[in-house]
């Protein structure tokens, strides 16, 4: 193992320029992937925030006894999709309307009778905020005898749904394309490193080195390069994130896990890229 490490480090020391070039290439490839990931992460978060506002409102018939309402509220809260069910009384609805609809304050002030119905406002758990589940829950709400009407902005929910699907599909395709390009570029730099050392590989084979022995230092240095590239890419992404935050918009950065994934992705590309290049080279000589 010490020998493998020594040989791997020797590869760096012998070709510092090429090694630096590989690390830089890997870093920028992953940086492109990372930037795209950052956009995806932020878009997703924005969509999630919008989706959080998905709300189903069940309007109640006037004169529904408060006991029934409390009971129903308990029932609804027990639905697997439901995060919360809040009862808004007729009075509270009016108070809210007065506070929110400033333009109509005078009209509302002059009312003799409260025209607003009481309601139960239902919020869904994350993962259920799509058209299908919203419809299902709405149907179930309609089943309560004292529920007059159920509203949830059907169009809006469906649009959001589609937007999320499109975002996911585009993210997947573009992300995969970026990753593929990164893999190809990284593979090329690794192949260059292998070719640069082909004389040495030939001599190793001549004196009786096994393929595994020849391969191991390359795998290790490939993994190290990939990891360094990944770390640099995270650093670059962070720089970009700071700039965006300062000059453009309030954005989110990767979570620790996402950043870790980028570094691991880099390490694995380095590892498998080297394995493929060395393997191909060894099969040919």
């Amino acid at each position: 193992m010490r020998l493998v490490l020594r040989e791997a480090l020797l590869i760096f020391r012998r070709a510092p320029l090429l090694s630096a070039l590989s690390v830089t290439t890997i870093a920028f490839s992953l940086f492109a992937v990372g930037l795209f990931g950052l956009v995806a992460v932020n878009l997703q978060q924005a969509l999630r925030q919008v989706a959080e506002r998905v709300e189903i409102v069940a309007y109640l018939l006037p004169g529904t006894p408060i006991e029934s309402i409390t009971l129903a509220q308990k029932d609804i809260e027990a639905f697997p999709e439901v995060a919360s069910a809040t009862y808004v009384s007729e009075d509270r609805a009016l108070a809210r309307a007065r506070a929110e609809l400033v333009e109509f304050r005078d009209v509302l002030q002059e009312l003799e009778r409260n025209p607003l119905p009481g309601s139960i406002e239902v919020k869904l758990k994350a993962g259920f905020r799509d058209a299908e589940h919203v419809n299902e829950v709405a149907d179930r709400l309609r089943g309560f005898g004292f529920v007059d009407d159920v509203r949830f902005g059907r169009d809006w929910v469906e649009k959001l749904d589609r937007l999320q699907q499109i975002a996911a599909a585009v993210g997947l395709v573009v992300g995969a394309a970026f990753a593929a390009v990164a893999v190809i570029i990284i593979g090329t730099t690794i192949r260059m490193a292998v070719l640069q050392r082909s004389r040495e590989i030939a001599i190793m084979r001549l004196v009786g080195a096994t393929d595994g022995f020849i391969r191991r230092p390359f795998l290790l240095q490939g993994a190290i390069k990939g990891m360094l590239g990944g770390l640099v890419a995270i650093g670059l992404s962070y720089g970009a994130y700071v700039l965006i935050n300062r000059w453009l918009i309030q954005a989110a950065f990767f979570t620790r896990e996402q950043a870790g994934t980028v570094v691991i992705f880099g390490t694995l590309i380095g590892l498998f890229g080297s394995a493929a290049s060395v393997g191909r080279h060894l099969r040919r000589v």
Partner: protein, 231 residues
């Protein structure tokens, strides 16, 4: 030890490099492989160290049947051979000592024994004083001695040398040749490809001559026949 039986070798591009070559080299022999440029000397050696497979015929080396050799067995075969080339093939960024040690490190040699074994062979080739020198700091003759030390360090039963003196002046040639003779005297078989006929004449060793891929003369066989022919 080394036995070729009716060996043919055709390269994909290019004609027949070897035509029906058969010979047997015994343990401890010293054999010159001669012939004009392109006669097939290097090709014979490549078959012996499994760099190329024979197109047909049988090649046996130190217990291995090379026609049936699998890729993963090649390193095991090479560890029993020492190989030396005209162009030395040293690693430029390692010292003489490291170049020699390298050949041990790739094998399963015990790490602790390596430095002593390396110094022993470097002493044997007369380069103990230059152990720390890099190839660029050594003369051609000295580089070839390092290459020979590297070939010897695994204690091979055969040393294959493809024109080992091809790049050396007369003095260095004599030195390297003497070294190969000493190595042979201590029991290692040596197969030396060369077209330096002066060298061949200097020593009473067996000569195998190739011409356009065919074996045209083998002193071991032909001298016996000559002796039998004369009364």
């Amino acid at each position: 030890m080394i036995k070729l039986t009716n060996v043919f070798k055709a390269f994909p591009k290019g004609g027949l490099a070897l035509k029906d070559v058969s010979f047997h080299i015994a343990k401890g022999e010293f054999v010159f492989l001669t012939g004009h440029s392109g006669a097939g000397k290097s090709t014979v050696l490549k078959l012996v160290y499994a760099d190329e497979p024979p197109t047909s015929g049988e090649v046996r080396v130190s217990g291995f049947n090379l026609s049936e050799l699998r890729r993963k067995d090649i390193p095991m075969l090479r560890r029993r051979l020492g190989i030396v080339f005209q162009d030395f093939r040293l690693l430029e960024d390692r010292t003489a000592e490291e170049n020699v040690a390298f050949a041990l490190e790739v094998t399963a040699a015990r790490r602790a024994t390596i430095p002593a074994r390396v110094m022993r062979v470097l002493t044997q080739v007369g380069l103990a004083a230059k152990a720390q020198a890099y190839p660029r700091e050594l003369s051609g003759g000295e580089q070839q001695r390092v290459a020979i030390a590297r070939a010897l360090v695994n204690e091979p039963t055969v040393l294959l040398a493809d024109e080992p003196t091809g790049n050396l002046d007369e003095r260095a040639t004599r030195g390297v040749f003497q070294l190969l003779r000493d190595i042979n005297a201590s029991g290692t078989a040596v197969v030396m490809a060369t077209h330096d006929l002066d060298l061949v004449r200097q020593a009473p060793y067996r000569v195998i001559e190739l011409q356009e891929g065919a074996l045209v003369y083998d002193s071991a066989v032909d001298e016996l026949r000559d002796q039998a022919a004369s009364p």
